[in-house]
């Protein structure tokens, strides 16, 4: 199977949520979303972002929007006004996750090509 960055088959939006951040991964097509529901596990996200997030990762699915919503528990260096980090609000965490390399079936890739 071809290896591509997650950005090939998904978009993302992220922001702060208390001392953590949320990353919404949006499938670029229905087949891409269905594939990601199986492949993009909370543990895969936790490992990919292990130097950004130091807490648990939870996932909520919204099939109607083709969104997998990941909550990163401890990813903002304390969060809010207590954080000293440049990205104290997790604005860039979506793009960080989209850099993940994945093995993606050809039919899924075909479903997102224009």
């Amino acid at each position: 199977m071809p290896i591509v960055p997650l950005s090939t088959i998904a978009n993302a939006r992220s922001g702060d949520k208390g001392e953590g951040s949320n990353v919404g991964i949006i499938g670029r097509s229905r087949p891409a979303y269905e594939f990601l529901k199986g492949a993009l596990t909370p543990d895969a996200v936790r490992v990919h972002m292990k130097q950004i997030n130091f807490g648990k990762v939870r996932r909520y699915d919204a099939d109607n929007m083709m969104v997998l919503n990941f909550l990163l528990e401890d990813s903002l260096g304390g969060g809010g006004s207590a954080s000293l980090k440049t990205d104290a609000q997790g604005k860039t965490h979506g793009l960080a996750l989209l850099r993940m390399s994945m093995e993606v079936p050809q039919n899924v890739l075909d479903s997102v090509s224009k």
Binding site: S7, N11, A12, R13, S14, G15, D16, K17, G18, E19, N22, G24, I26, H48, M49, K50, Q51, I52, Y60, D61, A62, D63, N64, M65, M66, V67, N69, L71, G77, G78, G79, G80, S81, A82, L84, K85, T86, D87, K91, T92, G94, L95, A96, L98, R99, M100
Partner: protein
């Protein structure tokens, strides 16, 4: 009321600091019934309480008054109503300033309403005496652990007081803390006569409010495929075309930049989302997994079928408290060997502070080499080579103000007593600033009294 009635509700301000061009263009570039404006973040309330304690006529979003001064003639001419949480912790002072602007322009008979009841800072001890422990929703600790350092306490009010103000004929509604979507739901309740138990409709308003609450973030701002976004400089701010049955269309004025697509709207729906099936507001619970979206035309996304559920018996309270001090500064280090020299600079700063008796442990200090993958730390980048320059960003935090203050003066001397090529110190010495802690809690609704008062020019 006919079923085909459409009401146009825009949001022109996603946060305090958003461009004034958003609302100015919304009132000028196309049809509009309501302009909503969101000025408040958690930290804002604490800053406003501090301003008010120094000067009793301050403590609200002064940007709002400047905006009204700029667009009032168009608001009056087109009969556009404004709903803004610009009141902060001093909504009557905000109202007085707005009234003064209206007088200056010479308009008579304009009604301005104030919604209040959200500010409970003066009632905290009473509430605690009544047995409300206002436990931190994240940690479970009782409020008593930080009570002495609390600097602001506000309830997130719902949309019904806003609707009541509009029912009384207000053209401008000024609130303190409320939910962000409430600014949009209030006009819908007023226009369509929705009842408190019409949970699906309230939930639909909540979804609409969430889509527009960050301004241009649903019209192509902060969008993954940024190359596909046309004319970002003149990006259009979002407008909800609302219907009585709760269905709505997300759109923007014709001729503006940006785009409204299912994808751009979905991006914003995913923003700051928790459990999408349980989006809780004081007016009801919205299920963000329930609805359908469809592109019904260029820059028009229809949302329908939103499901809701009854509200919880509690309000969310947002409190802030003093949580220590911090100081952050930065210098630029040019190449050759930018990263290696920046690393040396950081070591020098910590060592010099230690010579002087100030040691900061790992939890108290921070170093970033901006330009060498700070944002995506630990994630391998393709084609990343030696950076031509690095922004060295360092900071400290802790409870001892003197120790935090001591850090700043050791950063700038690197320019003359460190490796070569260190520059960019125009900002001067970093100073210690207060860390404002955030304390979310729940409070039974029957303990809170809201009120609406209307004033006429």
């Amino acid at each position: 009321m006919s079923d085909s009635k459409k009401v146009l509700i825009a949001n022109g301000q996603g946060f305090w600091g958003d461009s004034i061009l958003g609302p100015v263009r919304l009132v000028n570039e196309g049809p509009l019934d309501y302009l909503t404006l969101d000025y408040l973040a958690e930290v804002t309330m604490s800053i406003m309480q501090k301003l008010k304690s120094r000067r009793p006529e301050m403590g609200y979003a002064t940007d709002f008054v400047k905006l009204i001064d700029r667009v009032l003639p168009q608001l009056v001419e087109k009969n556009i109503k404004v709903v803004a949480n610009a009141g902060g912790v001093n909504p009557h002072a905000c109202k007085d300033a707005v009234m003064a602007v209206i007088e200056k322009h010479g308009f008579k008979g304009i009604k301005v309403a104030v919604v209040e009841g959200d500010d409970i800072l003066d009632q905290l001890d009473d509430l605690m005496a009544k047995g409300e422990d206002m436990k931190n929703m994240d940690t479970g600790e009782p409020l008593s652990t930080v009570r002495d350092t609390v600097t602001s306490a506000n309830v997130y009010l719902g949309a019904f007081p806003i609707a009541e103000a509009l029912d009384q004929g207000a053209q401008i509604v000024i609130t303190g803390r409320g939910t962000d979507p409430g600014l949009v739901i209030g006009p819908m309740i007023h226009e369509f006569g929705w009842k408190a138990d019409e949970y699906d409709k309230i939930a639909a308003g909540t979804v609409a409010g969430h889509i527009v609450e960050c301004g241009a973030q649903c019209t192509g701002g902060n969008y993954t495929d940024w190359r596909n976004v046309p004319d970002m400089a003149r990006i259009g701010y979002p407008i909800i075309e609302a219907s009585a049955d709760g269905s709505f269309v997300v759109t923007k004025h014709e001729g503006t930049g940006g785009m409204v697509t299912v994808s751009s709207v979905t991006h914003q729906l995913a923003y700051e989302m928790g459990d999408p099936a349980n989006y809780i507001t004081p007016d009801g619970i919205a299920d963000f997994t329930s609805f359908n979206m469809e592109q019904e035309g260029p820059n028009r996304v229809r949302v329908s079928g939103v499901k809701g559920a009854p509200p919880t018996p509690t309000y969310k309270v947002s409190m802030s408290y003093h949580d220590g001090w911090k100081s952050v500064g930065q210098l630029t280090v040019s190449g050759p060997d930018a990263l290696e020299k920046a690393e040396l600079c950081a070591q020098i700063v910590w060592q010099r502070l230690a010579f002087d008796g100030f040691d900061y442990d790992a939890s108290e200090r921070m170093v970033e080499f901006v330009g060498a993958n700070v944002c995506h730390e630990g994630i391998e980048l393709e084609g990343a080579g030696e950076p031509a320059e690095i922004v060295l960003r360092m900071g400290v935090k802790g409870s001892d103000q003197e120790k935090i203050e001591r850090f700043g003066p050791e950063l700038v001397p690197l320019v003359t007593s460190g490796p070569p090529g260190v520059t960019g110190f125009a900002g001067g010495r970093p100073k210690a600033t207060e860390i404002i802690g955030y304390w979310p809690a729940l409070l039974r609704k029957e303990l809170i009294k809201t009120s609406v008062s209307v004033f006429c020019s």
